[in-house]
């Protein structure tokens, strides 16, 4: 680990000011950042520890829904009775990721900001434009079994590793950003940027801005949800493919549907064209199959990750079937 200045701050203003120092990063739980620093993939000149900020509350919003402070620990969010009851898809997604020890330490904001598990990015030596702009992508002609098939570019096909964020995308979560003059909220799907030819630019976060909360809109009565994740071993492993499904039901009719995919895309991936097919529909296996086909239409697989396209279709089909059978309590 390279030397760094360590700042323990007490106010948001202080944190916001210090993050504008060249090479400064925010430290919350640290489960990803400390690993990145030990690998010397990230070598911050200054570490701004924000854990004393009062951002660890889960509150109801006046408009309905919930506001989750960015320093809420992943375990506390997943086991929160209201979250388990109102947003089971979010609890399921969080509990399917990492390990209990990591979830006890990792925060919501940190989960949003975690870096990719691309082995070329993490090895510190291979050409990688995300790590060293302009050096190219080693996965392009290298081994890319774990890489994305959606949203990729010639410069990067690294997947976003989070499970939590896939559920947040299906829930239309809003990211609350503070630190500049204007506090603002950004939909999670717009918070993450496509790699295009600038894969080192990962989020819409601007200098001086800090994630202070995540807002969850209220789900109508009768909404049914499911998070389904497939991986190389049954626990403590990143997704090969995952799907978060949120179906708003009226009687036995789907009114609205939201589907987000993980493990196969460069960011938590929504599929609006596929979702539209389910609006005002009667659930059926045939419809779900068409929906799954549509969701993967834009996929650009390579030789090692071609299997993910068929796998993703099956995961979507299965997740939709499971969700439509799950009545909200």
């Amino acid at each position: 680990m390279k030397p760094f200045r360590y700042h323990r701050i007490k106010t948001l203003q202080e944190a916001s000011h210090l993050t504008q120092e060249p090479g400064a990063v925010i430290l919350a739980g640290g489960t990803n950042l400390i690993d990145m620093m030990r690998l010397e993939i990230m070598n911050p000149a200054a570490v701004v520890d924000i854990q004393s900020l009062p951002l660890n509350q889960i509150e109801t919003l006046p408009s309905g829904g919930f506001r989750i402070g960015s320093l809420v620990r992943n375990s506390d969010l997943a086991f929160h009775p209201s979250i388990q009851k109102e947003y089971p898809v979010l609890s399921q997604a969080i509990l399917s990721g990492a390990s209990p020890q990591i979830r006890n330490q990792a925060t919501v904001g940190g989960n949003l900001m975690q870096r990719t598990r691309c082995t070329y990015f993490r090895d510190g030596i291979s050409p990688c434009s995300k790590r060293n702009p302009g050096t190219g992508c080693s996965a392009e002609h290298g081994y890319h079994r774990s890489h994305a098939v959606l949203g990729i570019s010639d410069s990067c096909s690294a997947t976003h590793p989070s499970d939590m964020c896939v559920a947040l995308a299906a829930l239309d979560a809003q990211i609350v950003l503070e630190g500049k003059k204007e506090k603002r909220t950004v939909p999670i799907t717009e918070f993450y940027l496509l790699p295009q030819n600038t894969p080192w630019k990962e989020t819409a976060l601007e200098p001086a801005e800090i994630i202070t909360a995540v807002d969850l809109p209220e789900l109508p009565e009768g909404t049914r949800t499911c998070y389904l994740k497939v991986r190389d071993r049954s626990s403590y492993e990143f997704a090969l493919v995952s799907a978060a499904v949120v179906l708003e039901f009226n009687q036995n009719q789907i009114q609205k549907a939201r589907i987000a995919l993980g493990g196969i895309a460069v960011k938590p991936w929504r599929v609006p064209e596929a979702e539209k097919l389910l609006h005002h529909s009667t659930p059926s296996k045939k419809l779900f199959q068409t929906c799954a086909e549509t969701a993967l239409k834009g996929a650009k697989p390579k030789k090692d990750n071609e299997f993910k396209v068929e796998l993703a279709k099956r995961v979507i089909l299965h997740a939709l079937s499971l969700a439509s059978k799950t009545k909200k309590e």
Partner: protein, 165 residues
């Protein structure tokens, strides 16, 4: 950069001057010679370095000592009290829940954390709840039995708490 941190480790207060890069794991092992906490992968992938931080199980390799200032830590050296082994330690011995023993302190601290978390008290719940700790010898069946036994005893002693899950 050097800085000062105050930690309560196994109920004893320590005021330490450290390099900002020091992790809790390296602090425990290298500075305080509490070598019961083991270093495995040093990347949060094996669970061998598990400790309790303010009562919650965490990987000590992924936490800077600086960011644990004013917090309390329990390691395997501090788990038992007044010369009597912790029920988990006894259960691990009686069920032979180890072979080489390298992962054992982490397994036991992880199980201690697990007992206070709202997991389903089922075989599957224990397996998933203990999935953050790898055992290269493959002593998993006996680890599971040991944790199950402690849970059973806990239920008898404190049925209300056990039914919380």
């Amino acid at each position: 950069m050097e800085l000062t941190v105050t930690l309560e480790i196994n109920e004893k207060k320590h005021v330490l001057t450290l390099d900002s890069r020091t992790t809790l794991l390296d602090l425990l092992r290298e500075e305080l010679h509490l070598t019961g906490t083991k270093k495995g992968c040093d990347h949060g992938q094996c669970g061998t370095c598990t400790i309790l931080l303010d009562g919650k199980r965490v990987n000590s390799c992924l936490i800077l000592a600086a960011s644990a200032d004013q917090k309390s830590i329990t390691t395997i050296e501090g788990l038992s009290s007044s010369n009597s082994l912790h029920p988990l330690q006894k259960a691990f011995i009686s069920h032979d829940a180890l072979q080489c023993g390298y992962c054992t302190p982490g397994q036991i601290l992880s199980a201690a954390g697990f007992l206070n978390e709202p997991w389903e008290r089922t075989t599957e719940g224990i397996k998933e709840g203990m999935s953050g700790n790898l055992c290269r010898c493959g002593a998993y069946p006996n680890i599971l039995t040991a944790v199950q036994e402690v849970l059973e005893n806990q239920k008898l002693l404190n049925p209300q708490k056990a039914s919380h899950s």
